[in-house]
Amino acid sequence: MSATQATRPERKKKVAKAAAEQAELAHKCLYYMSLMREVEDRIERKLYRQGKIVGGVYVGRGQEAIPVGTALLAEPDDVLFPSHRDMAVFFIRGVPLGRILAQYMGRVDGLTRGRDGNMHMGDMSRNIVSIISALAATVPVAAGAAMALRYQGKNGVAFSYFGDGATSRGDWHEGVNLATVQKLPVLFICNNNQYAYSTPLSAQMACANVADRGPAYNMPAEIVDGNDVLAVHEATKRAVAHVRSGKGPYLLECKTFRMTGHSAHDAAHYVPQGLFDEWGKLDPITQLEAKMVKNGWADQEELDRVHSRVRSEVDEAVAWAEQSPYPDPSTLLDGVYENQ
């Protein structure tokens, strides 16, 4: 019996195990992506139109692979800074759905207790930092959190999410420069959805890719298909390994497309219909499902079950959120300072 033959069953086992892991990962991704799609559909196409959400609504339709593929690799000590199109980050960190819906509806059980709306929410008990509206403002804050992780001797990573347009801001530059010069553990994740509100990439920056900005900071930068969740996950693994090993920041540019207007009130007439058609075919959920069926990781029935599970979870969460009261106006003044 040759040595080669002897290892064959071992290898087979390994391959099988890897396949099973991939299948499991795919299922997880599908669940979170579908959940994000469903929650955001419900928010944008139902609750907003019903007048139950009175403020701005921004969704990540078509971009779900990015928060899901990346955040699934976050360890408990890692700190996440989701952008306004990364709702799935909240699911993955265990924020109950109902609280997210309550947030949108301005109810007291939202993460900000009605003080802020939509994705302007955070939860330090889960190491999620809330954005402020000013784009890229979280970038230097993420650098500071990374500084703290190192200071505290934790092997954590700060996940800093932003869009293509946000890279035009001074805060982005200052934050990335600080993180790189101090070799801080920050993973920069760009969702390049090719538009910033109505502004196409070509009117936002002269370089072709956000990744082209990496060398300015001597920072490795990689482009990945942002509509392929497994590819995003794989690239994130590499990137996180680099960052966690103390080599400094890494920039992951996820190419994708914003399959909606900028916000619920924007019909996006400025986007050529052809782009929607083209990218519609690349829908990350549809793509993942096709791969799962093709690889025998799931059959149609199983996929349907995921979607109906998701729908009922969202039904339940909406009902829960709708029963959450509005904040009591007498609390208006509370909590501007610690002792007030």
Binding site: G165, Y197, Q204, P327, V336
Partner: protein, 323 residues
């Protein structure tokens, strides 16, 4: 034909661009898209991309580029998508634009338009009233019209002014108020307040969206036999202390009203200006109705509690009247 506050600004911008080829616009999404509030809808098509410049998301660069173009003799009108983002270009405005003339005698004839104010469920970052940061900065002018007439007349004056002007457009007024505007060109002077309602018993001094609240309160008060005079400041810097003090001399009582948060709002500057000049005329404490010292909350019941309204003004005015 009635013109909204928003259309009035739009008309003012349009007419100034027709009048003076040096006037041009820059900002985020103001071109094809016509701006977040559609104030510049149609401008790109009519004036072309030379005069309607879409910029990257770079408030410091927008302010800075406006300054540079202004120094060169153009008349840039920059748009902040929301007034809340003006803090991202803050240094350019308070240190560059505001100080050029005093330091080295260089004119910076720019206008920075900033949709401000609450009442539209915008939450902490789409509802702020940033006026006092700029009222606190010598070298700037700060304008905050309440009516369509003033909005049009003041945007024109702002564009023709040879100093940097922060032009605050109250978002909640954009489509809510309408009035007939005179045909043809007119301006409203910067630095002049206006008595928008005459009264005898007390003066309410205010500006922006609160001017309407003051008028509503004055109506109710009139029914109770309290005659309130309403002064609309229209410009916050330079501040028209004379008009305010004249009114106080007449009524001897004054209520200061602003949507801005309480501490260090314009009420303070008005109060000390009044005591400095016409203390002897005062027949009661100077009082104020303002938003409280919190960020602007999102949820409707909280925002409603946050914003000053006619009831709050009436209550305070009654107290002052009886004083």
């Amino acid at each position: 034909m009635s013109t909204t506050y928003l259309e009035a600004i739009r008309e003012g911008l349009w007419e100034e661009m027709e009048r003076d080829p040096n006037v041009f616009l820059l900002g985020e999404d103001i071109g094809i898209y016509g701006g977040a509030f559609k104030v510049t809808a149609g401008f790109f098509e009519h004036f072309g991309q030379k005069r309607v410049v879409d910029t990257p998301i770079s408030e410091a660069a927008i302010a800075g580029a406006a300054i540079g173009a202004g120094l060169m003799g153009l008349r840039p009108v920059a748009e902040m998508q929301f007034a809340d983002f003006i803090s991202c270009g803050f240094d350019q405005i308070v240190n560059f634009a505001a100080k050029c003339r005093y330091r080295w005698n260089a004119a910076v004839p720019i206008v920075i338009r900033a949709p401000s104010g609450g009442g539209i469920h915008g939450g902490p970052f789409h509802s702020q009233n940033p006026e006092m940061w700029f009222v606190k900065t010598p070298g700037l002018k700060v304008v905050a019209p309440a009516t369509a007439y003033d909005a049009k007349g003041l945007i024109k004056s702002a564009i023709r002014d040879n100093d940097p002007v922060i032009f605050l457009e109250h978002k909640a007024l954009y489509r809510r108020i309408k009035e007939d505007l005179p045909a043809g060109d007119y301006t409203v002077p910067i630095g002049k307040a206006k008595v928008v309602r005459e009264g005898r018993d007390l003066t309410i001094v205010t500006y922006g969206a609160m001017a309407w609240v003051a008028l509503e309160a004055a109506d109710t008060l009139a029914g109770e036999g309290v005659s309130a005079e309403v002064v609309d400041l229209r410009t916050l810097l330079p501040l028209d202390r004379e008009t305010v003090c004249e009114s106080v001399k007449k009524t001897s009582k004054v209520l200061l009203l602003h949507e801005d948060t309480r501490t260090a709002g314009i009420a303070g500057e008005l109060a000390i200006s009044i005591t400095e000049s016409v203390f002897e005329y005062l027949d009661g404490p100077i009082v104020r109705v303002t938003a409280p010292d919190t960020p602007v909350p999102y949820s409707p019941p909280l925002e409603t509690a946050f914003l000053p309204n006619a009831d709050k003004v009436i209550e305070k005015a009654r107290w002052l009247f009886r004083y």
